[in-house]
Assembly symmetry: C2
Homo-oligomer: 228 residues x 2
């Protein structure tokens, strides 16, 4: 079992790296097993299929990651100092900070960023399911710090926030070049977080678009607020 675990871990580590570097579809089991120095058949033995391996790679890091995000939210709420900026940081901080931990966290973060735009139905389902608890915990908190924002509008904006986050996490060359040319260390997540938080806070609490504002004032509030 200790030997087996070792093989399993080696497969997970290598798969994570290659998936992040080349994408899921472009990475073959052969590339993984040869670089992990395990037998080709080991993948199917331990994970059943390539799809099973992908899910295992994601789950291994996503679960502790989301636990950490919720832990930070808990702490914010207990401290009685729940601010928009703090909330944003609790949400985007852990994934971006993970990119700093020596052991492949950065690779995983890039992989995670990619899953948002990758084309695979089983992936979307898996991610949605894996993030269910996270979403149901953060949504009310955002509502609390943005009480003036209609519910429907808030959801749009939270998605825009996820858009920024996943783009940054995907970490394509442009982002690296940008950071480097600005004298910033592109591998320092704090640098990026420091810049993202004001941008996101500004966006989330921006005034409503004129048309919507007007609709609200004219009493179409019910429709606009919705009833999730």
């Amino acid at each position: 079992m200790s030997e087996a675990t070792d093989t399993k871990e080696r497969i997970l580590d290598t798969a994570e790296r290659l998936f992040a570097e080349r994408g899921l579809g472009q990475t073959s089991l052969r590339q993984i097993t040869s670089q992990a120095e395990v037998n080709l058949a080991a993948v199917n033995y331990h994970f059943g299929s390539k799809e099973g391996l992908i899910k295992a790679v994601l789950a291994r890091r996503l679960e502790p990651l989301n636990r950490e995000r919720i832990r930070r939210l808990d702490r914010l709420e207990r401290s009685g100092d729940l601010t928009l900026e703090g909330l944003i940081e609790a949400f985007i901080g852990p994934p971006l900070e993970l990119s700093r931990d020596g052991a492949g966290g950065g690779r995983f973060v890039r992989l995670m960023g990619r899953t948002y735009t990758e084309h695979a139905n089983f992936l979307h389902d898996h991610m949605r399911q894996a993030n269910e608890g996270l979403v149901s915990r953060f949504k009310p908190a955002f509502r609390e710090v943005l009480p003036e924002l209609p519910k429907g509008e808030l959801y749009w904006r939270l998605h825009f926030m996820v858009g920024v986050m996943s783009y940054v996490m995907a970490g394509n060359d442009m982002m690296q070049v940008l950071a480097a040319s600005r004298g910033a260390n592109p591998d320092d997540p704090q640098e990026i977080i420091r810049r993202m938080v004001p941008f996101l806070a500004g966006g989330l609490q921006a005034p409503l678009p004129p048309e919507l504002q007007q609709a609200l004032e004219e009493g179409a509030a019910e429709a606009a607020l919705g009833s999730d």
Copy 2:
């Protein structure tokens, strides 16, 4: 030549659709040629390789698209009413509106959104080159409407804007579900633009993060402003 053009166009249309639906790497030339009802060898004859086909698919729509964005910027500047909101709309409007034109524009937009996170070096190079003129035209305009923002900070924020845009363009299920559940027509780009503009405007003109603000006031302005 008319027959050839026909075949070429049919390949381009089908490739665009399949690339957007399944991703570049997951789409085979066989799938394309069989659905386009052309011979397998036609792709290599007309485009040289799969890579050549991908570039052709992108270039066909990207060039007129970026011309339109620049045309709108020209008009804004001539009108003497260059606002941040107008500038944002000139930049994000055309790609998002393209998703409404009946003839496959929506597919292309999703494909374009995906290219930002897709893993292929030739793609990044091609997109960077294709967007060069666009960027050099829009950057000074953004500087003009956001004069108080240090240059380095502006570039970060423009990238965040691209992040939101590409996430929305990638148009994954979540976005669709969100729009539908909010009573919005997920296929109406105006609906999305109306929501994105205030968010992006709010983000772009948000106050500087405290640390940076302080650095500026302490005279470290040179370093922070840079000299790009």
